[in-house]
Symmetry: C2
Subunit: 395 residues, 2 copies
C-alpha cells in the first residue's frame, strides 16, 4: 500500500522537508462513512525493530502534541515532548524497544488534516472546515495502517496520556489481538459535560475571531490567531492544578508593579503574562481547523457508546494487560474516571493494575518530572516482558 515518502502535499515549506511521512493512496474509510484518500501519515521512530517484530511500542500523543516524542524536534529544535520518558536507558528504553509515534489524523504536523490539500476533487484547495468530523477510533485506525505497513502483527505496548490515553483504550477495545499491553494515563473512557463545555468555549473563541472566516482563513492568508490563543489559554488552566498555579505564580505582581498599592488597568499579575505567552506561543505551531477537528473527536469519545452506554460490555473482549495510571490532582480527568475504567476491566476479568500517582501538578504532570510515574511505567514494562517470556517458553 505504501508508494512513496514525500513532503506534506501542497503545504511544502522548508520545515516540511524535515518531516518523515508515508503516503497511503487507498486512504482510510472513516467512522462517518467518508473516505480520505490519499492518506499521509507523518511519524517518527526511535530504536530498532527486532527481527521478530515483537518489540514495538506505539506512543499516542495528546491534543496538541506531535510525533516528536523524544530526541530533538527537527522544527522547534526543542527536546521532544516526552524526552524524559523515552530514550536510551530511560523508562521506555529505546535500546530495547522500537518506539513509534505518529501525528494524529486531523492534526497539522504532516498527517492528513484540515491544512492538507484535497486530492479527491479537481480544484486545488485545502480541506479547511470541509475536513470530515473524525473520531478517536479514526485516529487509531490511521495508526494501524502505519503499523500494519511494517508487518508488525502485535504491538508490545500502546502508551499515551490524556487524548493519547483515549487512543490507548480504543486500541485495546478495537484490536485486542494486536496489543500485548496498554498504559492509559490521565485519561477517561468518555468526555464529560464539563470536558465538552471547556472545549466548546475554546471553539467559540476561535469561531468569534473574524479571521476564522468560516474556516476558510487559509484562502485569505490570515489565521484566527487571537481566538486560538484564547482557546489555548483557557485549556492551559485545565491542565494545571490550582496548587501548581499558586506555587508557580501565586499573586505575584509584574516586576514593574511590585511596589504598587493600587490596581492599574491592564496586566497586573505574573500569571497573566504567563498565560498570554502560552497562547501566543501556541498559535505559531498549531492550526485552528485542526484544533476544532481534534477537540470534536475528543468530545465525541465514549467507549461505551456503541454498547448501550455500558462500559463493561465495551471492554468485554480486551486481551491486553492494562496498567491504568491517574494523577491525584488532575481535575480534567480525575482519578474517578480511571477507577471507573479499572472497575469495568475487573468486572470482565481483565489483567489490570492501577496506580494513582500522588502529585500536586495537575493533568500535565505526566509530561513533567514525576519519578513515581517513571518507576510505574518502567516496572510494568519489565513485568510484562518477563511474563511474555514465560508465556513464549510455555507455548
Amino acid at each position: 500500500m505504501v508508494i512513496s515518502e514525500k513532503q506534506e502535499a501542497g503545504c511544502k515549506t522548508n520545515q516540511d522537508e524535515l518531516i518523515q511521512k508515508m503516503v497511503f493512496p487507498e486512504g482510510i474509510l472513516l467512522e462517518n462513512g467518508q473516505k480520505i484518500a490519499p492518506l499521509e501519515i507523518a511519524y517518527q521512530t526511535y530504536g530498532q525493530l527486532s527481527q521478530a517484530k515483537d518489540n514495538a511500542i506505539l506512543i499516542c500523543h495528546a491534543l496538541t502534541g506531535d510525533q516528536y516524542v523524544a530526541g530533538v524536534h527537527p522544527i522547534t529544535k526543542k527536546l521532544g515532548w516526552w524526552s524524559k520518558m523515552v530514550g536510551p536507558g530511560l523508562p521506555i528504553d529505546t535500546n530495547k524497544y522500537f518506539v513509534i509515534c505518529s501525528n494524529v489524523l486531523g492534526s497539522c504536523l504532516g498527517t492528513t488534516g484540515p491544512r492538507s490539500i484535497r486530492e479527491d476533487i479537481t480544484q486545488a484547495r485545502r480541506w479547511g472546515s470541509d475536513f470530515p468530523a473524525i473520531t478517536i477510533k479514526d485516529m487509531v485506525n490511521t495508526q494501524k495502517i502505519l503499523v500494519d505497513s511494517w508487518g508488525i502483527e502485535r504491538l508490545f505496548a500502546v502508551i499515551g496520556g490524556s487524548m493519547g490515553g483515549m487512543q490507548v483504550l480504543q486500541w485495546a477495545v478495537s484490536y485486542p489481538d494486536q496489543v500485548y499491553a496498554v498504559i492509559p494515563i490521565a485519561t477517561s473512557s468518555f468526555h464529560s459535560a464539563q470536558n465538552i463545555a471547556f472545549n466548546e468555549v475554546g471553539r467559540q473563541a476561535i469561531f468569534s475571531d473574524p479571521d476564522w472566516r468560516d474556516g476558510e482563513y487559509w484562502r485569505y492568508g490570515v489565521s484566527p490567531y487571537r481566538g486560538l490563543a484564547v482557546a489555548r489559554m483557557m485549556a492551559h488552566i485545565t491542565y494545571l492544578s490550582e496548587d501548581a498555579l499558586s506555587r508557580k505564580f501565586g499573586r505575584r505582581l509584574q516586576e514593574s508593579l511590585k511596589d504598587s498599592s493600587a490596581p492599574i488597568f491592564g496586566e497586573m499579575f505574573q500569571v497573566q503574562s504567563y498565560l498570554q505567552y502560552q497562547g501566543s506561543n501556541f498559535v505559531r505551531r498549531f492550526d485552528a481547523n485542526s484544533y476544532v477537528t481534534i477537540t470534536q473527536a475528543m468530545d465525541w469519545f465514549d467507549l461505551s457508546q456503541t454498547h448501550d452506554g455500558d462500559l463493561v460490555k465495551a471492554v468485554a473482549h480486551v486481551k491486553s494487560r492494562f496498567c491504568v495510571i491517574s494523577l491525584s490532582s488532575d481535575w480534567l480527568f480525575p482519578t474517578s474516571r480511571s477507577r471507573a475504567i479499572v472497575q469495568a476491566l475487573n468486572r470482565v476479568g481483565a489483567k489490570v493494575s492501577f496506580v494513582e500517582i500522588a502529585t500536586d501538578k495537575g493533568h500535565d504532570a505526566f509530561l513533567l518530572e514525576e519519578p513515581d510515574l517513571d518507576i510505574t511505567i518502567q516496572g510494568f514494562l519489565s513485568g510484562i516482558e518477563e511474563q511474555r517470556r514465560l508465556e513464549n517458553y510455555a507455548s
Copy 2:
C-alpha cells in the same frame, strides 16, 4: 450631599427611567487616588427602615448581578436574583428588615461605571476604558456613601455571595463599628492564581474581539459581543460543579442528532447550545468595560495585602458576628478558602460560626434552591437578633 434623583446621565433610554438612583456631587476618592465626581448610585430597597434605623440589611451582589435582589426586575421583568431568599416571610424577611442592594461601582445598571458620561472633563464622552481601576474597597465605600446618606449608623447585617462575599468581608474589616453581623457566602479573602487566570482568559477574549476597539467601542456604535459571550461561557463553567453539568446535560445530543452514530462538524451536544445561550443572553445586559473593570477589582482583592499578607492581622479589629458559609462542591472558591477565613477569625477571638452546605450544584448553589442555606441564614439572623436584644437590654 444628595442633590437629586435623576436618570442615568447620557445613557438615557426608556429603561433608565425605571432605575432608582441618587447623585452625590462630591463623588468618591478611590484607593488609587483618583476621584470620581459626581457619583451616581443606583439602588433598590425592600421593606421599611425602622425609626431607630437599626433593621437595615445590605446585600452585596456578585460580578454580573444587580440591585434587583427581590421582587420583579423592572427591566427584564424576571424575578430578582435572590427572590427565593429575600421577601416577606422569606429567610431575609422584608416584613422585619429594611433590605438595601445597590449596583456596584463600575457596573452598568445605573451606578457610575465605564458606560457613564464623564462630567469631570469638558467634552462629552463616556468613561470607557479610561474608567479608573477600582477595588472591592471602592465598591464598599460607594455603598457606605449611600448608607450614610440615610443616617444609618450601623447595618444590622451585610450579606453576599461570591464577589458579594468579598464586599462583606471588606465591610467587616474597614468599618467594624458599622456592621453588627456579616454573612460571607461562597467567597474568598483573596483571588488565587487560578481565579485570576480564568478572569484573564475572559478579558483576553474581550480584547481579541475587533469590536473592542481599545474599549472605545461605544464611539462606533458597536460592542465586543462575541468576546464578551466567550468570557461569560467560560466563567459559567466555573460556576457549576462537574456533577451539576453532568446531571443537567451529560453527553445528551441535540434533538436533531439523537440517533447519530458518527460525529458531525458543529454543535453536537446539548451542553454546547446551553453555553451559547448563556453567552448570548448575557451580552444583551452587560457592558464589556464593566466586565473588565469588575474582574480586575476581584483579581486585585486580597484582604491581607495591606497587612504583609497576614490574614490574621487583617481581621484583627473586626467586631461583627460572622456566619461564614461555603458550598461543598464549589471549586471556584472551595471550602478551604472559607476555612482559612474562619481560622484567622478564631485566631483573633472573633464571634464566628461556619457552615459548609452539602450540595453538588457548585458555586452557583447560593442562588439556587438550597433549603440548608435558607435555614442557616434565617437561623443566624434570628440568633443575632435575639443577641442584640439581650445586649440592648443589658446596656
